[in-house]
Symmetry: C2
DNA sequence: CTGAAAGCGCTTACAG
DNA sequence: CTGAAAGCGCTTACAG
C-alpha cells in the first residue's frame, strides 16, 4: 500500500491556479479551454506526473474501462493465441483486460457487471440463466464459440467447424482410403465439438460409409483424456484405421497412445486434429489439421464488444473461415 | 451499459429499516450487529441480490482488490502454465487478475499503481527506473525470473537455471560424448538466459572442453528465431554435434531446421531444451529438457505478493528447483 | 449496537 | 471560457 498518497486533481488545480473542473476539462477534452490556461494546466499535470484515480472516475462516469474475459480454465494450447488476440484487441481499443477463470466453479462473476464494461464469454464459464440476467440488464456481452440461448440473443463469434471437419474427413477417405474413422468429442458444453461431429457424419454419409457409433467417444479436447480413451479403445480391440481427435491437443494424446501400443502413425493409423495450434507442426509426425484463426476470433470478439459498449449497434454473429492444413500425420508426404 | 441501475446500499438499508452504515457493517463484518438486525439486512441483501459497487469501495478503502501482471507479450508455450499458476494463486487469495501486455511498447503501466494493489512483473515489461519509482512509493511488487535493481530490492522468484543447464550439458558430454555444443541465448533482458549460459560454461570447463565463442548465438527463446539462427549456422558450415536451444520453444525450431537440412536428431545432433513445457513430450523426437516448475513459480509469486500487500512482511527471493527430464532428443532410449 | 456526517477523487450540470 | 456545488456509492470515525 502506497505510503505517499498520489497527487489529486485538487493539487494540480491549485498549482495551475485554476479550478479542478478546468483540469478535468483539459484532461478529457470535454470543453473548450483557453490555450494559455491549458498550458499552465498541462505543465502542472506534467510536473506532478498526475494521473486521475480510476475508481473516482468510474464512480461518476459509471464506466470501468475494463473488458473481462470469462473462461473455465487456463489450459490447452488453444488458450494462448486466443488470449493474445483478445489482449491485442482490448489494448487497441484503450481498455484494460480482466481475466476471470471460473476454475473450481467459484462464482466470482457475481460482480462481473460492476467491474467491467463488457464481457467476453467462453463456453463452460457462465451458465445460461446468468446470461439471461445480464441480457435483461442490457449488459454488453460477446460469446465465443457458442451460440446464445434464445432469450438472450447476444452476438457470438466462432469458426467454420462443420466444413472444416468435412474437409478433414473427406481427405482421409478420398486420399488415404480410410473408412473406420474414430471421432473424439470435446466437452459437452462446446458447440465446436457438435459441429465437428456433424461435419464428420456428413462426410461419412456423402461417401456411403455407414455410421458406427462405437467409433465415437469422448476425448475432452484434452491430451490426457484423449490418451486414456484411445488406450481403452485399443484394449477393447476396436477396429479402426484413422482418428479425428477433435482438436490438436487431443491429437497429441492420441498419437502417443498409438505409439505406445505399437501402432505406427500414419502407416497403421491416420491421425488428424483441429485448430492448428502452434505446436502442431512440431509433433511427431507433423499434424494434419484444420487451421482455425484463433487469434482473429479473439480480436473480432473484442471489436464487436467495444461497439456494443459504445453505440449499442451490433452484429448477430461472425463465422470465421477454416482451412485444411496437410502435413504428415494423415499419411501424406511420407 | 446497464440501463437498469444496480441497487445501492441505500435501498438495501431502507428495505431493512436500518442505516447504510449498518448494512456496510454486516457485509464486511466490521462491527458487531444484533443478530435480529443482521437477519433483516441479510434478507434485504438477498432479495435485491445486492453487491457493493467496487469503485465506490475502492475510493474509500484505497484498495482495488486486483493484482496485475505485466508481461511483454503473450507468447511462447511457457506462458500458459505460468498464467495458470498466477490465476490460481490470485483467485485463492480472493483477488481479481488484471493482465497488462506491454506489447508494442505501449505504456499503459502509468496507472498500474492506481488500479491494482500489487504487481507481478516479467522481464522486459517494466524498466528499472519505473521499478525504482514504484519502490519509492512502497508499492508491492514481485519480480519473476529477474533480480531487482540495487535501489529497489523487491522480492523475486525464479528457478535454478544454472544447475539445470549444467545437468543438461553434463548429460550431453558424459552420456552422449558430445563436445561441440551450441548454446542459443534468449533475449538480453532475460536473466534465465545468462544463468543457463553460466551453467553451460561451467559444465564445459569441468570436462576440460575449451570454450568456442562461435558456438554461442541468439535464439531468442523463440521457435522462429532459433530456426533461422540454426539455418545460418548450418549454412556457414559450423561444426557441432549438439545444441542446447535455451528453452523448449527454441528447441522445436532447432529440430525443424536440422531436419530440413537433412541432419538427423539425435543421431547426428543431440538437441535439448529447457522448461519442459506441455508440448515437449509430443515433439519429434520427444525432447530431453529440464523441468522448471513454471506453474508453481506463478503461484509462489502471488503468495509473496499478497503477503506484501497485507503485512508488508516479505521474503527476499525464492529459487525453485529444476530437474532433468530425459527423453530422446539427446540420444537416449532410441 | 447503531445512526448521521464527512469524505474518498473525480465529473458534470448549472450559472455566470 | 471558467468556477462552485452537487453527487457517484460506499466506509469509517464520531457520538450516543
Amino acid at each position: 500500500m502506497p505510503k505517499r498518497r498520489p497527487v489529486t486533481i485538487i493539487e494540480v488545480a491549485r498549482r495551475a491556479g485554476v479550478s479542478p473542473s478546468t483540469v478535468s476539462r483539459v484532461m478529457n477534452g470535454t470543453a473548450p479551454v483557453v490555450p494559455e490556461t491549458e498550458q499552465r494546466v498541462r505543465a502542472a499535470i506534467a510536473e506532478f506526473n498526475f494521473s486521475p484515480h480510476p475508481a473516482a472516475r468510474q464512480l461518476v462516469t459509471q464506466r470501468t474501462n475494463m473488458i473481462g474475459v470469462m473462461l473455465p480454465e487456463i489450459s490447452g494450447a488453444f488458450f494462448q493465441p486466443m488470449l493474445k488476440g483478445i489482449e491485442a484487441g482490448v489494448r487497441e481499443a484503450g481498455f484494460d483486460l480482466l481475466i476471470y477463470s471460473t476454475q473450481n466453479g467459484r462464482a466470482t462473476r457475481q460482480q462481473g457487471e460492476h467491474i467491467t464494461d463488457g464481457l467476453i464469454i467462453f463456453p463452460g464459464s457462465v451458465d445460461d440463466t446468468e446470461l439471461v440476467r445480464l441480457y435483461q440488464m442490457d449488459f454488453p456481452v460477446v460469446l465465443l464459440h457458442k451460440t446464445p440461448p434464445f432469450e438472450s440473443p447476444y452476438p457470438f463469434v466462432t469458426v467454420e467447424n462443420k466444413s472444416g471437419a468435412e474437409m478433414l474427413i473427406n481427405h482421409l477417405i478420398e486420399v488415404h482410403h480410410r473408412r473406420r474413422i474414430i471421432y473424439l468429442r470435446g466437452p459437452a458444453s462446446h458447440e465446436d465439438s457438435l459441429w465437428r461431429e456433424r461435419g464428420y457424419l456428413e462426410a461419412l454419409e456423402n461417401h456411403g460409409i455407414p455410421f458406427d457409433s462405437s467409433l465415437v467417444a469422448d476425448g475432452g479436447f484434452d491430451e490426457i483424456e484423449a490418451f486414456s480413451m484411445l488406450e481403452s479403445m485399443l484394449a477393447a480391440g476396436l477396429d479402426f484405421d484413422a482418428v479425428f481427435a477433435g482438436d490438436d491437443d487431443a491429437a497429441a494424446g492420441v498419437i502417443l497412445a498409438l505409439r505406445q501400443a505399437g501402432r505406427e502413425v500414419p502407416r497403421d493409423v491416420s491421425v488428424v486434429g483441429f485448430d492448428d495450434v502452434p505446436f502442431s507442426r512440431f509433433i511427431n509426425p507433423p499434424l494434419t489439421t484444420v487451421r482455425a484463426p484463433i487469434e482473429q476470433v479473439g480480436r473480432e470478439a473484442v471489436r464487436i464488444l467495444v461497439k456494443l459498449i459504445q453505440n449499442n449497434s451490433f452484429v448477430q454473429a461472425i463465422l470465421l473461415p477454416t482451412e485444411l492444413v496437410i502435413r504428415q500425420s494423415c499419411g501424406c508426404g511420407e
